[in-house]
Amino acid sequence: MTTTEIFTSELPVGERFAIQRTRFEPQKAGSKKIKRISIVSGIHGDELEGQLVIYLLAKWLKENSDKIRGIIDIYPAVNSLGVDTITRGFPLYEVDLNRVFPGGENEFLPGQVVHALSHDVKGSDIAIDIHSSNIFLREIPQIRINKEFSPTTLPLAKELNCDFIWIHDAVTVLEATFSHTMNSLGTNTLVVEMGVGMRLTKEYGTQLLNGILNLMQKEGIIESDEQFENREPFTSEIGDVFYLNAPCSGLFVASIDHCAVIKKGDKIGDIVDPLTGSILAELFAPNKGILFTLREYPVVYEGSLIARIFGENDAEN
C-alpha cells in the first residue's frame, strides 16, 4: 500500500493543495500482465458517500492483502479543498469539476486538476466514479451509463450489487465529465450515484463495497473464497423514467419513504406555505413503479425536482 500525490499546488498562504491516491498491489510481483481498477470519489466536494465506500474498501484490502491479484487505486477526494469545506464545486472558481474534463496543463487550476486525474487513471482497465447525488436529492444505489459505451460497461455494471442501471442517451455537455473522458480513453468507466449529499448512508456503503469486491473478484483483481453479494438490478431498458417537478415554490413535505414501490396516484407529498398554514400543492405519483429519487432538501422553487420514478413498460404506464 503506497500513498502518492498525483497533483500538488502551493496555495497562496502557507498551505499545500494535493490530490492523493493510494495504490494496493499484489504482494508478490508476477511477470504476467495484471488488471488495474481505479475508484474515484469526491469530484463534487459535497458528496461524501464515496468516502465511506473507499474507507471500507481500503480497510478490506489492508486486512486481505494476500488476496490482491491486480492493482487497485483509490482516489477518495479529488476535490479535496471542496470535501473539507462543504463546497460542491472547486473553491474560488466555483466550477463543477465534472464539467471541465479532460482539462489540460495550460488551463486554469480546475482544468489542471482534472487533467492530472485523467492522466493518472489512464491505463486502468476499469474505473468507478462514486457520486452521492447532491444535497437536494436522495438516490438508491444506481449506475448511470452512456448508451454509447454500454456494450462494454453494462456487463460490468451488473456486477456492482446496485439496484438500478440507468442507460441514458449521449448528451454533448456530458462529454466534459470524468466518465466520458475515461471511456473515450479506453478505460471502462462506471458512474455510481447513491445516497445524498453531505451525509453517509451506512447500508449503501456496505452494499457498494460488496459490489466492488464482487466485480474485482470476477475480473481477477482479487481472489477470495468469500462469495460477495450481488443483487439483480433493474435496468432502464425495460421501462421509462418519469419525472415529478415542483409545480410551485414552497416547502416540500414528503408523505412516503424513499425507494418505495408505488402505485399511480399515490400521494408523494405536499408543498406548503408555513406563513399562512396552507397547502399550495398536493403531489401524486404520475405512474406506478419504484421511486428511486426523492427530494431531500425541503425548500423548492417551481421546477425543483421532487422525485423520479422508474416504471416498467406495461398497459398501465
Binding site: 496555495l11 498562504v13 489542471q112 419525472y243
Partner: protein, 310 residues
C-alpha cells in the same frame, strides 16, 4: 418604451423574482431587431450597468424616431443572486448560462432559460453581456463561438480591439450565444471586466460599442465615431504566462497595456515573509488581454494572457 414581464418565479420566503424586459418598438418595420441580455450572474456588475445604461440612453437620450428596429433589453435575469452576493442561482448554484435553450418542464433554471429564450430567440441580433468564468480581468472584447453559424464580419461592427474567435467546447453547446446562433440570430458575447466596482472608462466603452453596432446595422439612426478595426484572435495568437509560485500577486501592468519581450510585468511575493519569490516577465511582444484578478495567486495559475504582435 414598454416594460414587459419576461418571467416570474415565486419563492418560499423571498419576494417573487420578476424579470422585466424593456422593449423599444422601432419606427421602421424593415429594420433589423436586436435583443440584449445583461446580468445572468450575481457578479456581473458591468453587464448590469451597461444594459441599464442602454435602457437609459434609448429612453432619455435619443429621439424616438431614430430608433428604427425593435430593441429589447433585459438588464438582469438573476436579481436573486445579485442581491445577496451569490454568483450563480442561489439555491443550487447552477449557472444559467449553461441551461440553454432551456426546458419548460425541467429544473427551475432550465425553466428560467426557456422563458428567457422564448422572449429573445426570434431577434435578428443578440448580445449577451458576460464576464469571464475564471478569476481574470480582461479588456472588454467580443467572444464569438465557432459554432459554424457565427458571423465574424458583423462582429467587427462593435469596434472592439479584440474578437476572440473561440473553439467550441462541449459546455459551450448549452450557452445562450450558441443556442441563439443555432436559432438563426447573429449572436455575440461581450466579455466585460469582472471588477465589482463600476469603472466608467470600461462601461462607456461597452455602451459605445453597442450603440456603434446598432448604428452600423441601422437599428438606430445614430452614428458614432469609428472604433477599432478588430483583431481576430484564436488560441494560437495568445501567449499564456503562468505563475510557477503562489503568493501575493503584484502586477506592474494592466490589461490593454503593450509590453515588450523580457519586460518585467509583475511579481509574486511570499505571503508570510514578504520576499519576492517570482518575477513575471513578458515572453514576447504584445498586448496584455487578461490578468489574474485575485491578489492571492495560486501556483500554476495563469497570471497574464498576452496577445502576440510583431
Amino acid at each position: 418604451m414598454q416594460k414587459i414581464e419576461i418571467f416570474r418565479i415565486d419563492s418560499l420566503s423571498r419576494a417573487p423574482l420578476v424579470v422585466h424586459g424593456y422593449l423599444f418598438k422601432g419606427s421602421n418595420p424593415k429594420a433589423p431587431s436586436i435583443a440584449v441580455v445583461g446580468a445572468m450572474e450575481g457578479n456581473s456588475i458591468l453587464p448590469l450597468y451597461c444594459a441599464s445604461s442602454l435602457v437609459d440612453f434609448l429612453n432619455n437620450k435619443i429621439d424616438k424616431e431614430r430608433i428604427e428596429g425593435d430593441i429589447l433589453i433585459i438588464p438582469s435575469i438573476n436579481h436573486y443572486a445579485l442581491n445577496i452576493g451569490e454568483r450563480y442561482w442561489p439555491l443550487d448554484k447552477t449557472n444559467l448560462n449553461m441551461m440553454f435553450p432551456g426546458y419548460g418542464l425541467g429544473e427551475t433554471t432550465q425553466r428560467i432559460a426557456q422563458k428567457l429564450f422564448d422572449a429573445i430567440s426570434h431577434y435578428n441580433y443578440g448580445i449577451s453581456l458576460e464576464t469571464r468564468v475564471d478569476q481574470a480581468h480582461c479588456i472588454p472584447h467580443i467572444k464569438l463561438l465557432k459554432s459554424g453559424y457565427e458571423d465574424i464580419e458583423s462582429a467587427q461592427k462593435f469596434g472592439f480591439k479584440i474578437i476572440h474567435h473561440k473553439d467550441l467546447e462541449s459546455t459551450d453547446t448549452v450557452s445562450l450565444q450558441y443556442n441563439w446562433q443555432l436559432w438563426g440570430a447573429k449572436a455575440y458575447s461581450i466579455v466585460c471586466p469582472s471588477e465589482q466596482q463600476v469603472d466608467t472608462a470600461f462601461s462607456n466603452q461597452i455602451l459605445q460599442a453597442m450603440l456603434r453596432f446598432m448604428g452600423k446595422t441601422e437599428i438606430i439612426d445614430y452614428k458614432l465615431f469609428h472604433g477599432y478595426q478588430s483583431n481576430i484572435l484564436q488560441k494560437e495568437s495568445i501567449e499564456i504566462i503562468k505563475s510557477p509560485r503562489s503568493g501575493i500577486f503584484i502586477p506592474y501592468q494592466k490589461p490593454g497595456h503593450y509590453v515588450s519581450n523580457g519586460q518585467a510585468i509583475g511579481e509574486v511575493v511570499n505571503a508570510l515573509e514578504g520576499n519576492v519569490v517570482h518575477k513575471v516577465t513578458a515572453p514576447c511582444d504584445g498586448m496584455i488581454t487578461c490578468m489574474f484578478s485575485n491578489s492571492l495567486i495560486l501556483e500554476n495559475a495563469v497570471a497574464f494572457r498576452i496577445a502576440k504582435i510583431g
